[in-house]
């Protein structure tokens, strides 16, 4: 599975939706994922891709990982995986 498909599967699972209902432009808010859901989704992403995501729930906008859309999350994971080498 591609990173994109895996992220969509994680978020769909969190939001209790079908993967087909999650698009690259969806925001977490669109999907109905609240602040605790965000923290759980990031945990699932870290476990799936074996990466460490810099995310502080107190400053979601200031974190060096953009969670504003599915596309930005995929881009963030690709960057972290590249950095990890």
């Amino acid at each position: 599975m591609s990173i994109q498909d895996q992220v969509i599967a994680i978020l769909a699972d969190q939001a209790v939706l079908e993967p087909a209902d999650v698009s690259m432009t969806s925001t977490l808010e669109d999907l109905g994922i609240d602040s605790m859901g965000v923290v759980e989704s990031i945990f699932a992403i870290e476990e799936t891709f074996d990466i460490s995501v810099p995310f502080n729930a107190n400053q979601p906008d200031a974190s060096d990982f953009d969670i504003s859309s599915v596309a930005s999350i995929v881009a963030g994971i690709e960057r972290l995986k590249a950095e990890q080498g």
Partner: protein, 402 residues
């Protein structure tokens, strides 16, 4: 109804190993938060905390005691020794039979769990020390305290996360006020600063990596602390009758439940607890000069708490002082209300308001007098101490200068 006064106080925390040193540090705005030191700390993404330094248990406790005393029990007994010594009480006869211990802790013997899980899972051992259970149980500290000081009345441990000590002290207050006990030893203790303890908190993504800055617009989370605060609550007439030195009076309390979210705080739950404490103490909002805030330094707590204060106090919210000493000693979780009660005693007895240190940028959502960065001299007659826990369980205590 009896009047209830505090006749003894003791503590151990990152700011000091006793009350005098802790209050001196609060007056000076000292930060007790620094790099954590314990096994495997390099595997944590959060590596700062308000860790108690220079407290080697060896020498203080004998071999038999060390096999039974988790660090949270060690802190409790050290703080209790100071408090009970100051009170001058010796528990014997009817005083012993009726007086008890009510303590708060969220985690109990966390490092005992941690050490023994490590032994069986990581090191593959198939045997643990026979006293693991009595050492880690949440009531271990209260039990040892009752045993050391001959306290044979009602004793138990309260566990309501970050409000544990305030709930415990509220219970002790109610018992003395009702005439059920002439004196109660109360407060709380916590020691979660070990690998597993911090790792669990790290997962929630609410911890700061650099500092606890309550109410500051650039705050980025809480920082854990450890330690204990222990007090002697005593019937006023009993205390006066023996000529005891009175630190302050406890005049009311209230407890509420948000009955909503498991972690997100509720403005109405906090407001109802503060308003309830004022009503129980039969005081008007404008009589309160100082509030020791829950003030965790998270985005959610601080703005919610300030909004609740504004609701309860109306225009007086802009005149009272509210500070969070967690900026200095960190968040002691189940022990935090007990150590923070010291800031209220200092305000009421000494006329010194502990500051909120680390304050850098005003936040329009926290637009109260948070006593930024420097302590202040002020005469205060009534003070509140707030504690709002995960799980939505809140407890507020009201105190008066004597």
């Amino acid at each position: 109804m009896k009047r209830v006064v505090i006749t003894g106080a003791g503590t151990i925390n990152a700011l000091g190993l006793n009350v005098a040193d802790t209050m001196a540090a609060m007056r000076e705005g000292v930060c007790g938060i620094g790099q954590l030191k314990f096994r495997d700390v390099e595997r944590l993404s959060i590596q700062i905390g308000g860790q108690v330094q220079d407290f080697p248990p060896e020498g203080r406790y004998n071999r038999q005691q060390l096999s039974l005393y988790d660090r949270f029990t060690q802190f409790t007994l050290a703080a209790a020794d100071e408090a009970i010594r100051q009170s001058g009480l010796i528990f014997s006869g009817e005083l012993s039979a009726k007086s008890g211990v009510v303590l708060g802790t969220a985690g109990g013997g966390v490092s005992t769990w941690d050490d023994n899980y490590r032994a069986v899972y990581e090191e593959g051992k198939n045997r643990v020390h026979p006293f693991v259970v009595p050492k880690l149980m949440n009531n271990a500290a209260a039990s040892h305290l009752s045993k050391e000081y001959n306290l044979k009345g009602p004793s138990f441990t309260v566990s309501t996360a970050c409000a544990s000590s305030n709930h415990a002290m509220a219970q002790a207050f109610a018992m003395v006020r009702s005439g059920m006990a002439p004196a109660m030893v109360t407060g709380g203790s916590e020691s979660m600063l070990c690998f597993g303890g911090v790792k669990a908190w790290e997962g929630l993504r609410v911890m700061s990596r650099d500092a606890c800055r309550p109410f500051s617009a650039n705050r980025n989370g809480m920082v854990q602390g450890e330690g204990a605060g222990i007090f002697v609550f005593e019937d006023y007439d009993h205390a006066r009758g023996r000529g005891a030195d009175i630190l302050c009076e406890v005049v009311g309390f209230a407890m509420t439940s948000d009955a909503s979210d498991i972690v997100t705080p509720s403005k109405s739950g906090a407001a109802r607890a503060m308003a309830g404490a004022l009503a129980d103490a039969r005081i008007n909002p404008d009589q309160v000069g100082y509030i020791n805030a829950h003030g965790t330094g998270t985005a959610a707590n601080d703005k919610t708490e300030c909004a609740a204060v504004a609701d309860v106090f109306g225009p007086h919210a802009d005149r009272l002082m509210i500070s969070s000493t967690k900026s200095m000693h960190g968040h002691l979780i189940g022990g935090t209300g007990a150590v923070e009660l010291l800031a209220c005693i200092m305000a009421l007895r000494d006329g010194v308001i502990a500051p909120t240190i680390g304050y850098q940028e005003p936040d329009p959502e926290c637009a109260l007098d948070v006593v930024p960065n420097e302590a202040r001299d002020a005469r205060v007659t009534y003070a509140l101490s707030n504690a709002f826990a995960f799980g939505g369980m809140n407890a507020v205590i009201a105190m008066r200068a004597v």
